[in-house]
């Protein structure tokens, strides 16, 4: 079964700093990739997704992610974070082999004003 690693459990940044959150999955094959975000007190919502085509995908609120197939990675980036980006971020991988969506353990992001 696919496993998804998010090595950063808690990241603390100052406003305007650049952000990169790591996401790696365990083995190759055809996958769809997602980043979800959970703001404090709110439900989980989609930030961006990759199905095919350009490996650099853009999402809401200035976030982007790059799919590097050779590294089994789908890292999330934002050039300049804001206090409102404080949230928990989850990477998820849909594996067409076993037809299941697997979530990572999440990264808590705290932005200091």
């Amino acid at each position: 079964a696919q496993s998804v690693s998010q090595h950063n459990h808690h990241v603390i940044l100052s406003e305007a700093a650049s952000l990169e959150l790591g996401c790696n999955y365990s083995y190759g094959g055809t996958v769809n990739l997602f980043w979800y975000v959970q703001y404090p007190g709110q439900h989980l919502q989609l930030l961006l997704k990759y199905f095919s085509g350009d490996p650099l995908v853009k999402g809401i609120k200035g976030f982007e992610a790059e799919f590097i197939k050779s590294k089994f990675s789908f890292n999330l980036r934002k050039p300049s974070v804001q206090w409102s980006d404080t949230a928990e971020y989850f990477c998820a991988v849909y594996d067409f082999g076993n037809e299941k969506l697997t979530f990572g353990t999440g990264t808590r992001l705290t932005i200091i004003p």
Binding site: Y36, Q42, H43, L44, Q45, L46, L101, G104, T105
Partner: protein, 113 residues
Amino acid sequence: DVKVTQSSRYLVKRTGEKVFLECVQDMDHENMFWYRQDPGLGLRLIYFSYDVKMKEKGDIPEGYSVSREKKERFSLILESASTNQTSMYLCASSGGPPYNEQFFGPGTRLTVL
């Protein structure tokens, strides 16, 4: 906008009680899912359903069952609640193929005493 609602935001039950968690979606989605979310473990799939009357076990089905009698409603049942089932329970739905984006409800925080 897709709306996924869950019957309770907070629930407190006693060990051994039978617990019903209800989820309703209003977008005629074929696919529905139940997850539990625990700190440091991310989201883990309990059960899912791709059609009415259909159900499939996820990664952690032990101690749970589900019911899908109508397309819009997916119920999670804890036959005999135990303290290790204290958790946040998230319902999600998606339309079309199962690899599409999932839409999440607000969650039910269940405490079993």
